[in-house]
């Protein structure tokens, strides 16, 4: 029992727990494709044609089973952005992330949804909505989401780097 400066006691523990999570056939398919081809894939709803990343087996909007895999681009566009200055513990390590870091909502070319992820850049203050980023994968892929390390900031769109929406 731990004591603070008051008369009250605390029971302090660090939880170290592990679970085995079945990711399901769709997410497994995504990770396996990522590992084999170094490429991101989404799933497409045959009803509304929305392409989902993260992929999933059912389009919630249409309550429709999705069976189509769509190959996605290596680049994307920042549609939302922030620079974080506060400390947060990484639940998997129990350690805080180094601040500041840039978070982006990234629309990968070919996807209709956006991803929240870390944006790597030499100058956080110059990252803007509309800027282009490139997916950075780790060298040796393991077939899990950790394979996507971050997104490298490329700068404002140029004609050549502009993503073509399907």
């Amino acid at each position: 029992m731990q004591e603070n400066n008051s008369e009250y006691l605390f029971s302090s523990i660090t939880m170290d727990l592990s679970w085995n999570t079945d990711v399901g056939e769709t997410m497994a398919g995504f990770f396996q494709r990522l590992k084999a081809e170094r490429r991101l894939y989404g799933t497409r709803c045959s009803n509304c044609l929305r392409v989902y990343l993260p992929p999933r087996p059912v389009c919630g909007n249409c309550w429709q089973q999705m069976n189509d895999w769509v190959e996605l681009g290596e680049q994307g566009t920042i549609v939302g952005k922030t620079v974080c200055y506060y400390e947060i513990l990484d639940s998997m390590t129990g350690k805080p992330r180094t601040t500041p870091f840039v978070l982006g909502l990234i629309q990968i070319d070919g996807a209709d949804t956006t991803l929240n992820h870390f944006v790597e850049t030499p100058d956080p203050d110059h990252v803007s909505i509309g800027d282009r980023v490139e997916t950075v994968l780790r060298d040796t892929l393991q077939g899990n989401v950790g394979d996507i390390v971050h997104f490298q900031w490329l700068g404002p769109p140029t004609t050549s780097s502009q993503g073509s929406k399907k």
């Binding site: 009250y8 990343l53 922030t82 974080c84 929240n116 989401v145």
Partner: protein, 386 residues
């Protein structure tokens, strides 16, 4: 089967604080329950059923219902727990109200609580999808900031306008003895000078993490007769949405769960112009910018006019539509209790028991609950019996 009229006739809240080392979770729950029973002039024997709301991941304590239902007076009674993220409290209130409205129980106790001082709230938030989201967790603040960047880009609201929301909240909170964060002397400049958490969100733009509990007493049938100013339940709606942050476009701008739930409630209750026809609103604003976005989603102003609405002063106490006269979530946020607090504060206005922050002529009150964009609840109460 037709639902019968039900009303909230008692509320109880702890003094919400950064930490309550003097009580464990169950003892904190009991404090709120005792106050609600006192407020409704009822005893433990009068309670027929209990609804609990708590987010156990924040405290890392399994089966909070097992540990806390006896402190809520649940021994030998039907007890259930409701958890829908930030909406837990409003969802629990809806469950309790509908249990009484169905005629199944005459008197239902709803109690919600959270003890954020005991765990890692920001990280607890991110213990969601283990295959994906856990790896890129940035907590609630980072995710809010991402959505806010889209809202700002779309609507052009300014940091000053958001800070006005924070100022209104903390000044209202200074009138509320239960509020955790209160500051009668706060200014827009002080908010903008507070540390940056995640652009454009300053420390004082964010809600706190509180220890606290809140309870409601719902009664139906003949049991309503002895009360002078019951807060009559007129209708509610609840909506879920897809789980990942990027699943739909510009979610703070669109906020389709809240929009759709509000539209359903307005239709049920017969409200054409929410700004004119609602007397007071207690809405779930986890961050200053959210209150502006929710003004639009709730139809308090035209799309894009939220900045003008806060500048007009209409949402202050004494304005045409006071929003969060209690100080709101920006002043107290024990998550499992926060939605219950919204309902309790709306009911207190109709009970005419809101003390220094009583809104004159409060007869129609709107409540909203927010759970990570993925859930929205809207409830409506009136002084007039349905």
């Amino acid at each position: 089967m037709k639902a019968r009229p039900v009303a909230i006739v008692g509320t109880g809240q702890t003094r919400h604080r950064k930490a309550r080392p003097d009580v464990h979770q169950g003892e904190m729950v009991q404090e709120a329950v005792n106050l609600a029973l006192l407020d409704a002039d009822l005893s433990w024997d009068d309670i027929d059923a209990i609804v609990l709301t708590n987010m156990e991941l924040f405290e890392g304590r399994a089966l909070p219902d097992l540990w806390c239902s006896e402190f809520a007076g649940g021994l030998g009674k039907p007890v259930m727990k409701v958890a829908t993220g930030g909406t837990s409290g409003t969802s629990g209130a809806i469950a309790g109200l509908l249990q009484a409205a169905s005629g199944l129980f005459d008197t239902v106790l709803v109690v919600g609580w959270e003890k954020h001082s005991e765990g890692s709230t920001q990280t607890g938030m991110s213990l969601t999808d283990p295959a994906w989201d856990r790896h890129i967790a940035a907590g609630a603040i980072g995710n809010f900031a991402l959505s806010i960047s889209q809202y700002v880009a779309e609507r052009g609201v300014t940091g000053e306008q958001a800070a006005m929301v924070a100022v209104k909240a903390r000044r209202n909170g200074a009138l509320n003895p239960n509020a955790h964060v209160k500051d009668a002397g706060i200014t827009v400049e002080k908010v903008l000078a507070s540390p940056m958490l995640a652009e454009p969100v300053h420390l004082l733009d964010m809600c706190p993490q509180s220890d606290g509990a809140a309870a409601l007493i719902v009664v139906g049938g003949d049991k309503t007769r002895r009360y002078k100013n019951p807060a009559w339940f007129r209708g509610s709606a609840t909506r879920h949405d897809q789980p990942y942050i990027g699943d739909h476009d510009k979610r703070m701008v669109m906020m389709r769960t809240l929009r759709s739930a509000a539209q359903e409630v307005y239709r049920k209750v017969g409200i054409g112009d929410p700004f004119k026809e609602i007397d007071i609103a207690e809405i779930y604003e986890p961050v200053s910018y959210a209150e502006l976005a929710w003004y639009e989603a709730l139809g308090f102003c035209a799309e894009g006019d939220a900045g003008k609405l806060i500048e007009s002063g209409a949402t202050q106490i004494g304005g045409d539509l006071p929003v969060n006269p209690s100080g709101g979530v920006l002043c107290s946020n024990p998550v499992g209790a926060t939605g219950v607090i919204r309902v309790a504060e709306a009911a207190r206005q109709l009970h005419l028991k809101a003390g220094d922050y009583q809104v004159d002529g409060a007869r129609r009150a709107l409540v909203s609950g927010y759970g990570v964009y993925t859930w929205s609840d809207v409830l409506f109460f009136s002084a007039e019996r349905p």
